[in-house]
Symmetry: C2
Subunit: 393 residues, 2 copies
């Protein structure tokens, strides 16, 4: 049988990098490649307790079909949390639960993107957002980005050159892959630009709660006066990713479209997962839990930064993130980090070459380091190993 | 802000029926409208036990990210089960876990359907499959269907008139909405047609395990010699729907495409849900559990059939399903079942008007009755009530 796939499958290809990174599954490999939270911090005992509670008191409801929008008490909690931390003014009707925030990205593509539509993004940007939007045949326009976020004059240029652009995709807090955080000024300016040019902003915020220093900043959404911003969030980084519970938040009219689309896509999210998380949030102190995570990751970040400064060549540039899971390193122009990865794998250490984070360009001398999922001594050992390989190549 | 949605959103609209059926959420309504399993049969205590076991022994793994393909022991179990019951010859590499079998339908659209592509389907067919495929802008061609399934000469005519048709979508066991089951002969002939015309078949099988009489039949896939059939399955009807765990099964090369698409869509299914189900299947006797479900639903079907024969006008036609969750009723030509539903809602009883199950036609005199989610006395009472309204209108 000669299979006749949809045309979009031409954009959806197995990544060579992903194939290479399969080698990192061996236990002896020190891998900085993933974006995994530290499993030793998962509140396993508490989850057991709330799971039992939910099954004891609401077993039939928890195992049955439920609404597409999601479990109301959980949506209420999310709305309150966002209002308190991000300066929004949401109620539960502004929130739909998604299968991780990755699904929020995919559904955003489904709701907004026709073939050929322009998506403006930071340069570099999140790998799996590129995959999600690519499936809708969009065209990416990368906007130059510095320590404060997208350079707004560059954004406006891009908006003028590409009239009818559909989406501006940004990760203002501890961006993936760079770890950078947008300044307050740029957040406000982005909201203004979106209003002026009538373009939707998708504000992706998986890491915002994981701040290790400095002050929390209000979201881009908090500056939105016309309803042009939708936001994602997730329990993957502050609770655990195994439950696959995230959300999309925005104007009611827009969220209703997401609900219609999700009905056809998968009906609803896991009922018991939503109820277990809601029960956890009611019975336990999630802030205390997040503080514990922050403390551990802050130390790991410091160890990683220290090791990079000690073991990497001195002509490199790297970010010093105030939170999140990643460092971003720019090596000398002549280095190709895909080749470097192949060499590193021979010595059982891995990272993600930066090239994959640029939808259009070939920028071969960057790499991403994840520091959340490894003990401190391993971080030092792994970075020292990459440093040695760099110096000898 | 004037929102510029994707063109596909024109096909994705709120259904009037769904709005009407929101009224059925009041507890006093006897609703035959859903497709819900009976929650009193969910193995709540067993699930509590296996959930605790999984968290005690594999807590960190169960709450962490995992592979897109799904949990290997679960995929192995599914392959073995399908091979034993459905005449397939799968291994775990032929299976990808999906977020309910609804996601298997949506991903099939994403893998195969371009705008304007033809999907051949039974007439009538599953409502939410129409929604899933509609999002890809396909064109439905309904194939005339009788007690034995699609009429194969009609299918061949449709294939000739629509060269390049992409997908034949069928539910051979206890079809939704009619409850009908395809004969062995038609299954074989469908596989032959698919091979001859090089068209993919999507064999949707959410209800196959719920047979109340007669013999189990091999799947269409078991007659597939060219690799043109993919199959769905789900734990929603034999275990519980709240976990949202289903699957897609087919040739390895095709399943690899589904995996690529799922990576961008939502990364993976709920890790702990997969492990809990796998642990349940290892520790408990699912066949004994399914037998319990069969016994209860068989009785409810009998009660429903008996009530229809007693309380409905004598000029109607209705199916006598050998399994599954639904009866299908054809009333006199002059009856409009949407109007009937409105009247019935005044008397606190509901069903789904049949019109929604035809992608192209307006067939207004049919309706679907679900019998799995209600006590026997309520079934009789509800059907008697509809019967009274029918006789007096």
């Amino acid at each position: 049988m000669e299979y006749k796939y949809a045309k979009r499958m031409e954009h959806i290809k197995a990544s060579e990098i992903r194939e290479l990174l399969k080698l990192t599954e061996k236990p002896e490999v020190i891998s900085f490649a993933g974006g995994l939270p530290a499993p030793e911090l998962f509140p396993v005992e508490e989850i057991k307790a709330v799971n039992d509670h939910v099954l004891d008191h609401h077993g039939e409801q928890a195992l049955q079909y439920a609404t597409t929008e999601g479990y109301k008490p959980l949506r209420e909690w999310i709305a309150k949390r966002m209002n308190a931390n991000l300066g929004t003014s949401f109620s539960d009707d502004n929130i739909m639960i998604t299968h991780g925030s990755q699904q929020a990205l995919d559904l955003s593509g489904k709701v907004f993107l026709d073939e050929g539509d322009v998506v403006l993004c930071e340069s570099p940007t999140y790998l799996a957002a590129i995959s999600a939007f690519n499936a809708y045949g969009c065209r990416f326009v990368e906007v130059e980005t510095d320590e404060e976020g997208m350079i707004i004059t560059e954004l406006e240029k891009a908006l003028k050159v590409n009239p009818g652009s559909k989406l501006i995709y940004v990760i203002p807090d501890f961006q993936n892959p760079t770890g950078r955080t947008w300044s307050l000024k740029r957040r406000r300016e982005l909201a203004d630009m979106a209003a002026k040019y009538q373009v939707m902003v998708l504000e992706d915020n998986p890491y915002g709660e994981l701040r290790y220093e400095g002050e929390f900043l209000p979201s881009v959404k908090s500056f939105d006066r016309v309803g042009s911003v939708v936001c994602t969030g997730t329990f993957s980084k502050v609770f655990c990713p195994g439950y696959r519970i995230g959300w999309i938040a925005g104007e009611k009219e827009v969220i209703r479209k997401y609900v219609l689309v999700k009905q056809g896509v998968d009906l609803q999210c896991n009922t018991i997962a939503q109820m277990v998380i809601a029960a956890y949030l009611e019975k336990y102190d999630i802030d205390a839990h997040i503080n514990k995570i922050r403390e551990v990751y802050r130390k790991r970040r410091d160890v990683a930064l220290d090791a990079v400064s000690r073991y990497f060549p001195s002509d490199i540039k790297y970010t010093k993130p105030e939170g999140g899971l990643f460092l971003w390193i720019e090596l000398g122009e002549s280095v190709n980090t895909v080749d470097l990865l192949e060499k590193c794998l021979e010595y059982d250490v891995a990272f993600v070459p930066g090239n994959s984070f640029y939808p259009n360009q070939n920028k071969c001398n960057t790499l991403r380091i994840n520091f959340s999922n490894m003990q401190e001594d391993k971080i030092t050992e792994g970075i020292a190993r990459i440093g040695r390989i760099l110096r000898h190549s």
